[in-house]
Symmetry: C2
Subunit: 237 residues, 2 copies
Amino acid sequence: VRTTTTDTVTDYPTTERSRLRRLHERGSHGRADVHAVLDTAPLCHVGYVIDGAPYVTPTLHWREGERVYWHGSSASRFLRKALGTQVCMTCSFMDGYVLARSAFNHSVRFRSAMVFGKAQIVEGEEHKTAALRGLIENLFPGRWDTLRPMTPQELKATAILYLDIEEATAKVREGFPNDPEDAGHPVWAGAVPMTYTTVAAEPAPNLMPGIELPDYLRDLISEGRLRAPYRESADEY
Amino acid sequence: VRTTTTDTVTDYPTTERSRLRRLHERGSHGRADVHAVLDTAPLCHVGYVIDGAPYVTPTLHWREGERVYWHGSSASRFLRKALGTQVCMTCSFMDGYVLARSAFNHSVRFRSAMVFGKAQIVEGEEHKTAALRGLIENLFPGRWDTLRPMTPQELKATAILYLDIEEATAKVREGFPNDPEDAGHPVWAGAVPMTYTTVAAEPAPNLMPGIELPDYLRDLISEGRLRAPYRESADEY
């Protein structure tokens, strides 16, 4: 059993479910490392156990401190069964392929976070509105106040779930193949980086005439600050 | 209860676990639709139930017919506990944000597939080698025969799992906000597309002098055929 030194202020606690098992990737229980991945990934995958079977659903998430919210539908019997149960939320994205000299050492550049906690639901119009505002403002700061306000019916139809992070791990794999023993094998080795980019915004076909792309959105896009796994270089992380 | 017409040749069977619940996205049980997402996504998220709790792990996957393989480590007690149990493998990626006139109608462009089956393991050196060859050739056709061959120890340390697809769904969301009733609200609405790109290959720092990037890899990259969720336009899918 590997023993980990944990700083109770900056690290998450560790039990069997979050113990880092594979040491050849850079793993961490650090809060800052986990937050960095959660805040960069546009999508998460939430794993539930429903009637004993696993379900993994992709959804938008957003974080406020140690609470992570995600989005659902009130019509889903599925979500109601999940309430109060333990879930595992995983965010991962690939930064590229790593090509080694043997099949064994092939790998990918990636960033991922896995967080554990109990699925809970936001109750009450006021709290729901505040949480949705958190989602919109997290993605597009400045947008909420310009929107057509939510109706009570819409609020009712929206389910916002959250978990308070109990345990979490982050893993990052970057760089090149780790196969110095094979350096003499005459095959190309290296990496093929992969990046996300956002391209020009596309106005809705029925957009009211005269409405320009707002500054906050143009700046988010042109400055690469829209929530997406951009990465300028391996040093950035 | 929604009834679905299923073509038993081209569609997956549907039970409660794979019934399409949310109708405002384009959902499908079609084999071709599911395969298209599985074959495009570079990463999948596999959901297991271990001792009653959910785990979602990101990994590489590859498909051969109705069998989907993924990669693990033999050292993982975790994987051994998962063998023979039902898993849910989900592949999703975002193609952009969809900005509506109300918070309620905000959405994302995405493609996802969710497949259900029983986790099984590839046994025997020969079968393992064939499966790994499948992984490498699936990603980089032509590469396998140029690699330093796997050693028996490496084969032993590699776990390759698979499932035979029992049920599956695919969902695709593209286009623009679906809020014609709000078209008169004076706020910008539309989409911000997001794309993956691969950039120039980076040779390993210890690459043998004189080894050039192989043609198959240069072509994969320059022609955008490396397995990645590229998407030229909304019409492509």
